[in-house]
């Protein structure tokens, strides 16, 4: 006998920690169908029963505005879990119970896990658990999820009992209770009227309690209203088809058709409009405002019945607030933030060097083994240059991603990330972004040398969909570590005396470009009001090692699994493009340049030379940039091949540097144009894959390829042409 349990609760209430405590290692992460909201599932066994646990996204409410709320609500309504474990933060009871009430209003069998009892105690809060349980009519189990598994065993036992009892009651898990909160006489009577209409039309009565549906109509809930409109159309059509044929012969039809006179939605809308007008005139308020007020009122009166005792002033400064005095201080706050971000960056990119070199060493070894083992030919070239180089390149990112997410998990779990968003929101809002956008930007190379792949994945900490998409599309403009070699090469060749200045300008240009592009997106294709910044600053907490490790591993594994498979295919295609067709035997193909020029890639490079000359790029640069689609590192090595260096090892950039300097058609202006283009053109394939997945559509991945290339080319042409006119 299997039982499904859904974990619901506010963000920061310790939901994930409890989930980990319950399921241990038996969990897997996926997405809810069609959306990028993460779905975590796990299981545990107690006595003879197996419990499947689903961790719902953390929400404060069950309205249908944010994606997380829709996902949570749909799951609860459609999957009908046997029990909903509502994790409630005991140190923050009043606000947490707001969600509990809504769960109970949905008629769900709720069991409350009263978490963070230790924190509540420290804050001088005593809770009469039995009283709370009696007043709400649901079991309440105190837990401390983060300190080992205190309370977890009791919780499991309570769940077992609930299932057991429900099964004895005829194998159907019935709603334990149905709370009916009074919303005042006006709303209550209107609710009754709407309920009657809902019953007449049997609108979703199989899914939700009628009172809940009525409440949603009153709250102007978009999802329910849409469903009702569809339902109305459907209802009418079915009837009218029958009635048209022979209206008199079908008495049932006649009966219903009277009801069909006005559609469900119209009837309901009438009642809601009337009530809204009434409330506007008498109290200048709205039904949804009254409903929220009454829910909080209900909670307050419930807590006042001796459930909760505060031993200190509720607004007393906790340790967390004292820390905030410094960490969000006008002067020290930004300084400290800079230091933290820099340290994170420094550790990630310096200390991942060693494991990255291990991975690279492994693939190097693999390549040389195959090199010795197989005879020269197409197969060897495919395996070594196509598969191993391609897949190895992708897996080379893995240590970097692990390090990055390790630090992000710490910053996120400790509560500091919310402070970063808080401090920087004012700046990022100017460009239509959100305070939380800063982290992805920094990681992607806001300080030159990051990587867009973890940057793109880090946008998950952003909860506002529009701001998130704008961030996703602009982080690839940052100067990732793979773009650096080409910058360094060109600077060394042409601007040796202004190295520092140029690197600084490159970084600044990337930021300006990204932020302006974000502004452009937010005022055109992703237009819309900014999402409200109503955000909780959770108290500082020491992150648990377990959750940090699980977090890091989940992200890393997702990257390996999904990006790896697609990248394999793409690297083979790129390899083929740069290999086939081979030059005919009568052509001297000892120089790699000749073979390259003869290949598809070479032909493409030559054929678009006419256009790219506007930006100062000849066919060699074109091929290199084409290779840069696979990974930006390839630009330098392909340039090496294209400029006929026998060994195109990027380590020998010195020679390439000399070669470029001596080229007549390659001057400082070409170099600047190429730097600008490299900075802004299409993200590498790994980034495109991640971007598509995170935005939920390949459309955005393709958009970034074409838009960015067009954007970069325009900038480069402007620069090159202006420069040429000025005589450089």
């Amino acid at each position: 006998m299997q039982t499904t349990i859904a974990l619901a609760g506010n963000p920061n209430a310790g939901k994930t920690t409890l989930f980990n405590a319950l399921t241990g290692a038996h969990q897997h992460v996926g997405n809810y169908p069609g959306v990028t909201v993460e779905k975590k599932c796990g299981a545990f066994t107690f006595n003879d029963k197996t419990f499947n646990v689903v961790d719902l996204p953390g929400t404060y409410s069950l309205t249908a505005y944010s994606l997380e709320e829709v996902v949570a609500r749909d799951f609860l309504a459609i999957e009908k879990p046997d029990i909903v474990v509502n994790i409630v933060d005991a140190s923050n009871l009043e606000r947490n119970l707001y969600l509990s009430l809504q769960l109970m209003e949905m008629g769900l069998p709720v069991c409350i896990a009263l978490n963070m009892m230790d924190v509540a105690q420290k804050r001088g809060i005593t809770i009469d658990i039995e009283k709370l349980s009696n007043l709400l009519g649901v079991p309440v189990i105190p837990t401390i999820a983060r300190n080992g598994r205190k309370g977890a065993a009791e919780l499991v036992e309570a769940l077992y009992k609930m299932v057991d009892r429900n099964h004895k009651n005829g194998d159907v898990v019935s709603p334990i209770i149905n709370i009916n909160i009074s919303y005042g006489i006006d709303i209550d009577s209107a609710l009754l009227d709407i309920e009657k209409i809902i019953c007449d039309y049997s609108f979703m009565t199989d899914k939700y309690p009628t009172r809940w549906i009525a409440l949603k109509f009153m709250e102007n809930d978009e999802q329910i209203i849409q469903l009702a409109q569809k339902h109305g159309e459907l209802f009418e059509r079915v009837l009218c088809d029958k009635c048209l044929r022979d209206p008199d012969s079908c008495p049932a039809c006649q009966q219903i058709s009277r009801k069909c006179d006005t559609q469900l939605m119209q009837k309901v809308a009438q009642i809601v409009t009337r009530l809204t007008q009434h409330l506007q005139q008498t109290a200048s308020t709205y039904p949804e405002a009254v409903i929220a007020d009454q829910r909080y009122g209900y909670i307050r009166s419930l807590l006042r019945q001796g459930v909760i005792t505060h031993h200190y002033d509720q607004n007393r400064l906790e340790t967390s607030d004292k820390i905030d005095k410094i960490l969000t201080h006008r002067l020290f706050g930004p300084l400290f933030m800079g230091a933290i971000l820099y340290a994170m960056y420094y550790f990630t990119f310096n200390y991942s060097e060693l494991p990255v070199s291990w991975v690279e060493g492994f693939f190097g070894l693999l390549a040389s083994v195959i090199d010795n083992f197989l005879s020269d030919g197409m197969l060897k070239s495919l395996i070594v240059s196509g598969i191993i180089d391609g897949v190895g390149g992708v897996l080379g990112f893995v240590p970097l991603i692990m390090f990055m997410f390790f630090f992000i998990a710490i910053l996120e779990d400790s509560g500091y990330l919310a402070r970063v968003a808080f401090m920087l929101d004012r700046v990022f809002r100017i460009f239509g972004l959100h305070g939380s956008s800063v982290m992805p930007f920094i990681i992607s190379g806001g300080i030159a040398g990051g990587c867009a792949v973890p940057g793109i994945m880090a946008t998950r900490t952003l909860k506002s969909p529009k701001e998130r998409l704008a961030t996703l599309l602009t982080v690839p403009f940052m100067n990732c570590g793979a773009k650096l070699p080409i910058f360094l090469l060109l600077i060394a060749a042409f601007f040796q005396e202004h190295r520092a200045l140029l690197m600084f300008l490159i970084t600044i240009t990337a930021w300006i470009g990204a932020l302006l592009a974000a502004k452009l997106f937010r005022s055109t294709i992703i237009k819309g009001e900014s999402t409200p910044f109503v955000m909780e600053l959770p108290p500082y907490r020491l992150p648990t090692i377990k959750s940090v490790i699980i977090h890091t591993w989940e992200r890393t594994w997702q990257y390996i699994k999904k990006a790896g498979t697609v990248i394999l295919g793409i690297s083979v295609i790129l390899w083929a493009m740069m290999t086939f067709p081979a030059p005919p035997a009568n052509v001297d193909n000892s120089a790699p340049e000749t073979a390259l020029k003869y290949s598809i890639a070479g032909r493409i490079g030559s054929s678009i030379e006419g256009i790219t000359q506007l930006a100062g790029f000849d066919w060699r640069i074109n091929i290199a940039l084409l290779g840069g689609f696979a990974a930006k590192e390839v630009i330098v090595s392909t340039l090496g091949t294209a400029y006929s260096l026998s060994d195109a090892d990027p380590k020998e950039v010195d020679t390439l540097e000399q070669r470029l300097k001596s080229e007549s058609n390659f001057g400082p202006l070409t170099a600047l144009s190429l730097i600008l283009f490299t900075m802004f053109y299409a993200p590498c394939f790994v980034s495109v894959v991640c971007l598509s997945r995170e935005s939920g559509s390949w459309k955005w991945g393709l958009f970034s390829v074409f838009f960015n290339t067009g954007f970069a080319f325009t900038l480069s042409v402007i620069l090159y042409q202006t420069g040429s006119l000025m005589g450089f």
Partner: protein
Amino acid sequence: MNHQMRLRHRGGKMALRQMKDKERGVIIAVNATGEMGRRIRDMGLVPGAEISIQGRAPLYDPVAVRIMGFTLTLRNNEADYIMVETESDKTLQESEKEYAAA
């Protein structure tokens, strides 16, 4: 005279944005509708709730507010929708009493 005094001192009612750091008050109205209104109310910013200003971001926006024992951030333009009666009103009433006594 007394009535006028009171009117003048009724600076106690204001939008949340105008509250000073550390100032305490009680929400009297939330004038936002739609998504904004719902988000604000869902977080417990409803009439009758006690709040105090915890601090402001380095650029004075957003503002951090203490409510029901936790901390919440709002942008200034969102704080404009929330009307608050500050506690300074109480002290004013006291000073009024003193004034009357004198």
